[in-house]
Structures are given as structure tokens and as C-alpha cells.
Subunit: 339 residues, 2 copies
């Protein structure tokens, strides 16, 4: 951390004046340094050609530090992954802070360092940003927004309209780790094993999948808020199809399953930050799973179910003991501020 | 407003589940409708070619409704203007909400309608977004982030390195209206006249200026947080030049000047949302002012001063009575949460 003559963020750091400049110039700009950010203009200018993907998310996770990560890397990985789910390679990100007055500079710096590391890992540059400060009690330590642009991969054809009966539904890894990791620390629960958030960039894996399987990959979605069940419900509704999944094929780590039972949560509704769903042509589904399993971060990939002709707009779960039931979208809020 | 079975926003509206879908599908998507947003994917995909500008800002203004506008149009105009200041025509915006639980749906809807209107006026499309909800007491009604992309105008050459001694400093309109409008309602002050925020899109005016004067416009900056004085100080520092301005040339409406005196504020430090600074070649400065004065929203345009060889990195103000003093960057925070 750079030597600074302040320990906490104050309202003046959001004034646009001397303190804002001090905060940015004594550290932030140096840490995130790149030629586009270095212009210090109201925005960044770069060359883009062809089809561009554009996405944004705000992050309000509480607490801002959790097992396996913090709000900073979450904010980078989240937008990187949203772009990857569009079939794009993320390139440039914006970064905007809403800081509650009183945030410790050491905490802010730790988040910033994670942001830098996550951006480097994902291969993206932070090129423009904003810093606002609100009074104590009008925020909660730190909210972050990122937006990002990326270039569509030439072989990508991700489109809701491509989803058709017979397609397979693949899940990239074991689920519910992120939500349970955050819950464990938030509720002061102690689990026997240490469950970590799965926050990670997915653009590397997605890039290789699209390179290899191109047009046969019909849809990609990361299973964040609302978990796998809510994402599948959205797909069923938007693509006007039925979906059937097999509970026994749902990859859940034993310690996560145990924690879910203890907390009364269904892992299918718990948020992930590094797990995604793939809807693909049946013929290549096994090959996709094989390829996913060669990567760290998708070792537990499996075919979860399929798109069906019947019961349009519904997701049906076949339970481990053979019964079938409708898997609804998440009702209410199980885990507020999980991302 | 669409008929909804809820009156206030609850945590569940940020869950990613049923309530989030209900909020978006019963109204928001319809109101902001366009083919890119209609895909309901994690991001939007569009064609962009050539040089692209990218910018973001978060808006935390309090109160969210103020004389002359609300946080919604501010969030659209702000990012539109940041892109315009890069010499770009804004095209696509992202829109991200952080809502405090309990926000009245009528208030949220009023903001949304303003967003739609402002986007239409500026000629931009909202193509992707996000909604988060935080617990009561962990936010303040509504924070908004927008990010935007636009295409650089072919004749634009906005660059800090272009700024050179002899260039003129032009201000596009009378200053300090936004800050004083917000202060008037926040502090429960009653002024004899009603001062309104100057929030407005500047891309139309900027487009015409660049079309006409192209490479002779060296730098554009909107004078938001920290006001004209802070922006000029940033330019002096980043471009390593001196700046001299004449107080008597500073356009301030009489009622704003009166309010500033009453509140002990210097209008040069008060935030604007529709005023920008132009650094341009001296030969065309008068022509720029003439052109600006033909537009609604820049009728008071004037040459405020010039870039000088001496006292590098400093802004010098020549007072109405002839004395000279250094005009420093804003120290501390005069008007917290003004944007």
C-alpha cells in the first residue's frame, strides 16, 4: 500500500477535488496503470471492430471479504463472465466505487489489489472509472459496479432462439459453493471443512469451448443469483421450451451438501460465481463434458438434463428416488446480498 | 405505471428470482424496449467499428428528486456527456440500480420514466442492466450506475497533449445552477426565484462543434463535481500548463449568485450538469462562442480565459477589481452527494 496521510475514506474523497485526486493519484492509478487509464479523461477511447458485447453488474455483497475472495475480484470476474456468456472475449472494463464514509484505507487497498490481480488473470484492462463517497449509514462499506466490453468470438452463436428440444443441459462444475461460503461467514456458522467461493474468470474455458464446438453451443449462462434453478427457469420461459434435469446428476460437494441441509437451503437455488450452464447439441454434449473436465474449475462438469418438447416454460426435476416435480424459480429471497 | 401487486421494493426484487423477473417484466423491459435489451441475456451484442469511447459514472445524489430533474435523467445525461467530452457520439448505455429496500414503486417508476425520456432525447439505447436491493439503512433510496459506449467522431481530436499556451478557455453556459438547485431543496432553503438544475445532454451541441471546428478543439470537459475551478486545475496539472481566467467573464445567473452569497459558496466550485469547458485554438474561439449562443442550453457561452506559458500547473483568477490570486482545486467537500 502506498504511504498516505489518511487511514479512512472521508466524504472529501468523493468531492472531485484535492482529496479525490490524492486518492487516485497516490496509488489507484499506479496500481491499475495502462495507457488508456493513464489519459485521466472522462472516458477511454480504443479501437473495436465487429460485433461487440457489453454488460454490467453492481456488487453489493456483504461482507466484502469472504472465504475464497472479496468484492473486488467478484466484481471483475462477474462482468468478465457475463461477457463470456455472450460468446465474447472481454477486453476493457470500467470500475465504479460507491464507498461508505469511514471505510478503512487498508480494506480498500486490499480490494484494489484483488481487482488488479483478477483483471490480469482474466486478461482485461480497467480503462475508466468513478469514485463516489456517501455518508456513514447511507451505504455499507463498499459497493462496486463494473461494466465491460468485449469482442464476439467468430465461432460464437449464442442465442436463445437456438435452444431446441433434444439439446443437452450441462453444468460446468459442482454448485452452491459461493453462496454457502458467504453464508458461513455471515451467520458466524462454523463448518467442519472450509468451503470457499468459486469466484473465477470463465473466459478462458469458454474461449476454448467455442473454438472447438462453435455453432453447436446454443446458449451459455452463469448460475449466479437464484442459482441453477432460476437460470433454467429463465431459459425455459424465454426460449419457450421444457427442461428436465436429474437430481442425481447435480454435482454438489459433500461438505456443501451438508451445509445446505443444516441451513435448510436447496443447492439448486444457491448462488455460484464460477459455474455456468451450457445448452448444446446432444451430439457434442459428452465431448464438451470431457473437455471441461480437463480444466481446473470445471472438473465436476456433467450433463444435468435436457431440453424437451413437453411442459413448455417449466423445469422438471426428477428426484434421486425417481419422483418428478416442478422446479420453480426462486420465490422471495433466500440469501440477500450474495453478489 | 403498470399495475403491480407491490407498492415498495423489497429484498426479493434483487434475488434474481420470481420478484426480480416480475419487476423487470411488468414494466421495466416494456418501458425501455429495444431489440438489444429484448434478448434478456447477460449482455448486449452490437456492431461497432472504429474508435470507441467508453465511460462510466455512479450517481448517489441526495435527494433523488430535485428542482429541474431527478437521479434518473442525471444518470443518463452524465454518461452521455462524458462520452461527448471524449469527442464521441454516445450510442449504447448500461443501467444498474442499487435500491434500498422500501423504495416506493411510484418513485422508482418516476425515475424510470425520466430515464427513458432522457435516453430518447440524447438518442441512446439502454441495452443491458442490473438490479440489486440492499437492506433498509444500508443504502439511500436509490443509487444508479450507467456506463456507455459511443463512436468517436471522425473530426474529433480531443487530447490533453493538444492543449497549448495561447489556447482560449471557453465556458458553455452560466454556472452553478445544478449545485444550488440541489442545495436549495436539501437544506430546506427558500429562494425568491426557483433555480433549476442544468442537467441536459451535451452530445448534440458537441457534435455540431466538432463537425464545424474539428481539430481546432483541443479539449472538452464537463464541469461537474468540484465545478469549473476543479476541472481547470486538473487540466493545468495534467497538461502541465498555466491557466488564467477573468472573474468578470464568469457567467453566473443573478439569482444563483445571490444564493451562493447566502450559502457562502463560490460558484466556481459548485457542480454543473450541463456546462462544459472547451479549450480551443484562439483563432476560432469567438466563432465557437457565436455558435454556442445559437443553442438552447449554451446561450451564455463566453471566453473565460486562456492557457498561458507561465505558472505551470496553476490556475490564476483575475478578480473583478483587478487583483490576481491562485484558484486552487476544491479542498474537502462543499456539497456532498451532488451527483
Amino acid at each position: 500500500m502506498p504511504k498516505l496521510d489518511f487511514d479512512v475514506i472521508t466524504l472529501g474523497h468523493g468531492s472531485g477535488g484535492v482529496l479525490t485526486n490524492k486518492l487516485l493519484k497516490s496509488g489507484v492509478f499506479d496500481l491499475l496503470k495502462n495507457p488508456l487509464l493513464d489519459t485521466h479523461h472522462d472516458g477511454a477511447v480504443f479501437e473495436l471492430n465487429g460485433k461487440t458485447a457489453f454488460s454490467t453488474d453492481s456488487y453489493v455483497i456483504s461482507p466484502i471479504f469472504f472465504p475464497g475472495g472479496n468484492i473486488g475480484e467478484l466484481a471483475i470476474n462477474g462482468t468478465v463472465n457475463d461477457l463470456a456468456m455472450c460468446g465474447a472475449q472481454p477486453k476493457y472494463l470500467s470500475l465504479s466505487f460507491i464507498i461508505e464514509e469511514g471505510l478503512k484505507m487498508t480494506e480498500f487497498w486490499e480490494v484494489l489489489v484483488s481487482i488488479k490481480k483478477a483483471a490480469d488473470t482474466a486478461g482485461v484492462q480497467i480503462v475508466t472509472g468513478d469514485t463516489k463517497v456517501v455518508e456513514k449509514g447511507k451505504g455499507d462499506k463498499l459497493f462496486i459496479n463494473t461494466a465491460g466490453v468485449g469482442q464476439l468470438m467468430s465461432k460464437a452463436n449464442i442465442d436463445m432462439n437456438q435452444v431446441k428440444p433434444g439439446d443437452k443441459v450441462i453444468v460446468s462444475d459442482s454448485i452452491a459453493n459461493h453462496g454457502i461460503a458467504v453464508m458461513s461467514i455471515r451467520e458466524g456458522l462454523e463448518f467442519e471443512t472450509s468451503i470457499l467461493s468459486d469466484t473465477r474468470p470463465l473466459n478462458g474455458i469458454v474461449g476454448k469451448l467455442i473454438e472447438e464446438f462453435g455453432y453447436d453451443i446454443h446458449l451459455l449462462r452463469d448460475a449466479t443469483r437464484g442459482g441453477v434453478a432460476s437460470v433454467l427457469n429463465e431459459i425455459a420461459q424465454d426460449a419457450q421450451v421444457g427442461i428436465e434435469i436429474l437430481q442425481k446428476h447435480t454435482p454438489v460437494d459433500p461438505e456443501v451438501e451438508g451445509a445446505c441441509e443444516m441451513l435448510g437451503l436447496d443447492p439448486l437455488y444457491v448462488a455460484n460465481e464460477g459455474v455456468f450452464m451450457i445448452i448444446a447439441d446432444a451430439q457434442i454434449a459428452d465431448d464438451i463434458v470431457q473437455m471441461l473436465r480437463t480444466f481446473e474449475g470445471s472438473k465436476k462438469a456433467t450433463i444435468l438434463g435436457e431440453i424437451v418438447e413437453g411442459h413448455k416454460r417449466q423445469v422438471i426435476l426428477q428426484s434421486a428416488i425417481g419422483g418428478k416435480r416442478v422446479l420453480n424459480m426462486l420465490v422471495g429471497e433466500q440469501l440477500p446480498r450474495i453478489c
